[in-house]
Structure formats: C-alpha cells, structure tokens
Amino acid sequence: MRISVKLFATLGRHVPGAGSGTPFETEVPDGATVADLVNQLKLPREEVKVTFVNGRTRPLDWLLHPEDEVGIFPPIGGG
C-alpha cells in the first residue's frame, strides 16, 4: 500500500531527496507498522522520538493503512 511520509528536522538527512518536512510517497507491505516504516527508511531508531499518523501521536507498533500520512520527528524542544 502507498502512504505519505514527512521527515522533520535532522531526519530528512537520512533519506536522499527528502527535505525536512517535504511529503513523499512510499510503498509499504500490508500489515506494516510505524516501526516497519522506520526500518524500511533506515532511520536510526535512537533518532526517532515522536511519530504521528494522521495528526495523532501513535506508537511504533501502530498498524498503517493505505493513504495514511505519517510524520516522524527526532527529539526536539523549544518554547
């Protein structure tokens, strides 16, 4: 199935062509979780801090569905 992915801050550096926050489409197997996507994109696990699916924070074992929008953030803070 196809899903849309956005990588933010430093994470964009790990996927060639994926600028920070620019959405791109990718294919994942049926039944894939957020963790499977992280592995597939070869993102270093320790740099993955907050994962969103369709605007809601979801854990790594969350099941993905076709056309889901996933946003992945490293540890960040501000105020």
Binding site: V50, F73, P74, I76, G77, G79
Partner: protein
C-alpha cells in the same frame, strides 16, 4: 547580600541587609514574595504604590550552566494581577555579582514625561553597590536599536542595560523590558504583562549596570556546588534537545512549528485552525536552511547570555547577507507568522525587529494583529500591511494606541468575540483545544495565559518527561499543577527553563540543579523539595491575585473555545470547570 531600593519620588536609594525570611529566595521567588509583601493588591499598576522588582536567580552569576536569568515582577499593567517575567542577559549576572538579591524600584516622580537612568556600580571603597541618577531625555521617544549604542558609548562597552521602549512611554498594556544580549542588541525581553509601562510610569528609562570590582556570588559550600554544576552540565551536554548541535542549537525554538502543525495544535489565523499551510516556510528548519543559503554556510545558534551551553538564539539575515534580526523565537515566529496567516520569514523577522525596537512583546503583538485582522482592519496573510500596523504602534497613532493596548483591548475596540486571552493576557503558540493540558495551564496560571508557567507540551507533544495523549483531559490537572510548581522553582534558581528538557529525562541533572542551590545557600534540599518550594511561591501569587479581585471565575479559557470545534481534530475545549478549579484547589 543586599536589598537595593531605588525611590523615584526624589531619586534616592537605600541598601539594606536581606531579611532572614528572604535568604533562600531567588528570581521569581524573590520578586513574587516582595510584590506579595509590599504592593497593595488594589493599587493602580501605573500609580506610585506599585513596585517593580528585579531579582537574579539563586545561582545566577556563578559557574552554573545556563543560569544568567533575571526575573522582573510587579502588579501587571496588562493583567491587573501579579507578574513575573524572566529573561536571559548579562544584566542578570551583573546584578548577582554585586550581591543584589533584589532591586526594588518604588515611588514615582511628580513631574510627568521626564525620564531618568539609574547607573548602578560597585563602590570598592565602601564594599557595596552605589547608584547615581542621570537624565535620560536624549534617549526617549526613540528606537532602542538607535539608543542602545549611545548608552554604551556613555557608560562603556562593559555595561549591561535594561530599559523600556516607546511602548512603555506611551503606556501600552503591551510593553516589555528590554535587556542587552551578548551582541549588545536590545533583544532579550521580560516581554509579558506590560512591565515596560510599569517601568516608564516610574520615570525610569534605563537601569545601567557595571559590576567591575564586585565580589561575585558567595558560595556557602563549594564542593556541593561544583558537584551539582557538573551533573547538570553533563545532563545538558547529553540530552538530544539541549546538547551542542542538538535540536535547540541547530534549529532554535522555532523547530516547534512543524511538530505543533503536525499535531494540529498550531493556532492559525487568530485561533481558527490548528494547521497552517505555510508552516514549513516559517519553521526552524526553514530558518536554518534560509540562513545557509544566504550566507553560504551552516550557522548554529548562539547564547543570549553568559555561560549558556544550550545556545538556542538564532539570527535571520537579509538576502544580501547582512543581519536582519535576532532572534526569531518560536513564539514570535508563530504569533507574527502562522497566527496572522503570514508565511514570509522576511516579514516575520521585520516585525520581530520592530517589536524589539519599540519595546513590544512579540506574542501579544502577533495575537493583537490577528484580532485586528479578524475585525477586518487588514486581511489575514498580508505581511506588508501587518508591518504597517506594528509601525503604527511604534508611532503612537490613535490606531497604534488601540493595538498597543493588547489583544483583549483591541478585541473590545472592534467588537470581536474570538479573542484568545486569559486574565487579559493573550495565549501563546499552543492551541488548548488540541492540547488540553496546556489549556489548563493557560486558564489557571497566576500569570494569565502563559505557556512557560507549566509546560505540559513536554509530555503532551514532545515525549519529554513522559508521554500522554494531547486530546485527552485525563490526568491533566495534576500534570499542570506539578509543572506549574516545579517551574516556579526553576524560575527561582536563575536557570533558563529550557534546562527542563534535559533534567526531566535525566534525574542526575535534576539533582545537580538542587545541589547547585544547596552549594550557594547552604541548604539541604532534595529533588522532591523543588515542587514544594515552587508551590509556596504559587500560593503567594494566587493570594495576591485573589486580593486584587482575580479569582476562580477568571481561571477559564475564552468561551468561543468551548463551542467552536477546531480543525483538523474538530475538538472543543472540554475540560470541566471543576477540574480547572482543582489545580489550585488541591495545591
């Protein structure tokens, strides 16, 4: 240590020993206690009976990392309640080095429209600080970027400056106190709550400090202090958010734009949506990339004040590579950007620069512009016209004076119902309908709507200090209460609140902060004492507000948030009143 009273009735000053009851206070603990003890709660904030109190934190001026913060406190001109607003600046360390625990500005000159400067230096012979008063007339009515270099010229490059801009002179509800950053810019602010006008009402334009020859901060137990400072520094260097070239040092605080947008909690076009289509263009990542393009190299952020190892302050550059402004913080970027529907960093930077020049709080300025846009004064998204409105505030035109009155004042002037304020202070950059806990902090804080008063965004959005669902109200009263109490303590230590990202995740860092305080004061505090001591400060602030006529009924978010669902999650603010009341009810 000294309590230094500067009386503006006739420009005299008095030094006294610190009373026993104040010995272990610092920063916000000091300012809020003195305001509680000495300011009549029903006084007019701009009258002779209000007092403006400055206090360095407990460890400010020492080698403790990221601790050059000063608290300014008074009865607020904006909220009518107690106010503490803190900033990072060398000014804070100078005050601490001269062993001034509190600087209390009292009284008011008879003559209206005349301004003075207080010059505080160390008197070597007498072994104490001394104050001289000089006329400030040449510096009034002017842009602070124009005036700061002249004040440096008058007092020397080693001086540190605090002062108000024209916003304070005009009497605006939106006016801050500006302090110098390390590059001598007038860019560090006790921004919130109209304290610039309280300062101006005392006929005081600048307080110039020079601490040459001063003895520095006395440390009761050096071994304990050093141990604590080491632990805290290690935590800051280790945590991904606070470490060198980490999130804050690379992208600045505006790194939050994208994550708040993704969470549907980035207030957009006067709190009418939680998503802004132009978010990526004004995000911290865009600032980093934009600077890289314009300068041809990567630039990491700098420290606002001496001894900060987090170094989160950025600089924005014009297309020709010259400096435009420092610093484009998340709050400013959001208020003047997303909340006004503006997606141009150049326009946002220009408004930040103007706010610094006039002495305006960027948050209150942006939320005010958005209410004016809602009223149809100018269209949402029109950056050039928005810049024009900020200039009106700087010129003090009739429209500028309405806007300078603040967000709520402007809403009343134009009959707007969607006005995002609590206790007359506007909400910062997190939408309560999408992040329920921060709404509890906004509603119940003694300060009016204020994110820094109890930053539940950590666990609700960032996964720092735990992880909870932002859309659920469950357990959030206790969460907000805990954060508010701990924050009141951190605001008293003199540390920048951003150390919280590291110490909430790394317990030895938290211990280190307590040991630093024990080292300076000779106390024996453990980590669990932080919230207890903070809670006592909150109780005093709350008691002041109640005596000033600000009670439970004002611990509420604006009504429109209870019935207007916010896209994209289409949530209303559904935290029941009794939950809000339990925050202080069970403190």
């Amino acid at each position: 240590m000294w309590i230094l009273r500067v009386n503006m009735n006739d420009r005299i000053y008095r030094l006294s020993e610190v009373p026993e009851a104040y010995k272990n206070l610092g920063g916000r603990g000091t300012t809020s206690t003195i305001v509680y003890d000495e300011v009549p709660p029903l006084c007019h904030p701009l009258g002779p009976n209000n007092k403006l109190v400055f206090a360095p934190g407990i460890v400010t001026g020492t080698a403790a990392s990221t601790s050059a913060r000063v608290s300014a406190g008074a009865k607020s001109w904006l909220t009518g309640g107690i106010k503490e607003s803190n900033a990072g600046s060398s000014w804070a360390s100078y005050l601490a080095n001269m062993r001034i625990k509190a600087l209390i500005v009292e009284g008011q000159p008879k003559e209206k429209g005349k301004y003075w400067m207080a010059h505080i230096t160390w008197d070597d012979g007498a072994g104490k600080p001394k104050v001289s008063f000089l006329p400030a007339d040449p510096y009034t009515g002017k842009d602070l970027y124009e005036v700061f270099p002249k004040v440096y010229e008058q007092f020397g490059a080693r001086a540190a400056i605090a002062g108000c801009g024209v916003a304070g002179e005009y009497g605006y509800g939106n006016s801050g106190i500006a302090y110098n950053d390390l590059g001598k810019r007038p860019s560090r602010y006790s921004g919130r709550g109209g304290l610039g006008t309280v300062m101006a009402s005392k006929g005081l334009k600048f307080i110039v400090l020079e601490s040459k020859g001063a003895p520095g901060v006395a440390i009761a137990n050096k071994e304990v202090f050093d141990r604590g400072a080491k632990k805290l520094t290690e935590a800051l260097r280790e945590h991904a958010i606070t470490k060198p070239k980490g999130g804050l040092n690379t992208y600045g605080t505006a790194v939050l734009i994208n994550i708040m947008n993704e969470a549907g909690g980035l207030p957009t076009r006067n709190f009418s949506s939680g998503r802004f289509e132009g978010a990526a263009k004004i995000a911290g990542e865009a600032i980093f990339e934009g600077v890289k393009n314009r300068l041809g190299k990567e630039v990491y952020n700098h420290a606002c004040s001496p001894g900060c190892i987090i170094q989160c302050s950025n600089t924005w550059y014009k297309p020709d590579g010259t400096e435009h402004t420092s610093c484009v913080e998340y709050e400013s970027d959001w208020a003047l950007g997303a909340n006004c529907g503006i997606d141009s960093l150049d326009d946002v930077a220009e408004m930040v620069r103007l706010c610094n020049a006039y002495g305006l709080d960027t948050i209150e300025a942006g939320t005010t512009l958005a209410v004016a846009m809602e009223a149809g004064v100018i269209p949402f998204g029109d950056g050039k016209k928005a810049i024009g409105l900020v200039q009106e505030m700087g010129k003090g035109t009739p429209l500028g004076r309405i806007l300078g009155g603040g967000t709520e004042f402007t809403g009343r002037a134009f009959g707007v119902t969607r006005v995002p304020t609590v206790k007359r202070q506007s909400m910062p950059a997190y939408e309560p309908r999408a992040v329920k806990g921060i709404g509890i902090t906004y509603a119940t804080s003694t300060m009016g709507a204020d994110h820094t008063a109890g930053y539940t965004i950590g666990p609700e959005i960032l996964g720092v200090g735990g992880k909870v669902d932002p859309l659920s109200p469950e357990g959030k009263a206790a969460l907000s209460r805990g954060f508010q109490a701990t924050t009141a303590f951190i605001d008293s230590t003199g540390h920048c609140l951003f150390i919280a990202f590291a110490i909430l995740d790394i317990p030895s860092g938290f211990e280190g902060m307590m040991e630093e305080c024990n080292g300076v004061l000779g106390t024996n505090w453990a980590s669990e004492d932080a919230a207890k001591i903070g809670g006592e400060i909150l109780r005093k602030e709350r008691a002041f507000n109640e005596a000033a006529g600000i009670g439970k009924a004002e611990d509420r978010v604006p009504e429109f948030m209870k019935f207007e669902p916010l896209p994209p999650h289409n949530q209303v603010y559904d935290v029941p009143d009794k939950v809000l009341d339990s925050v202080y009810g069970e403190l």
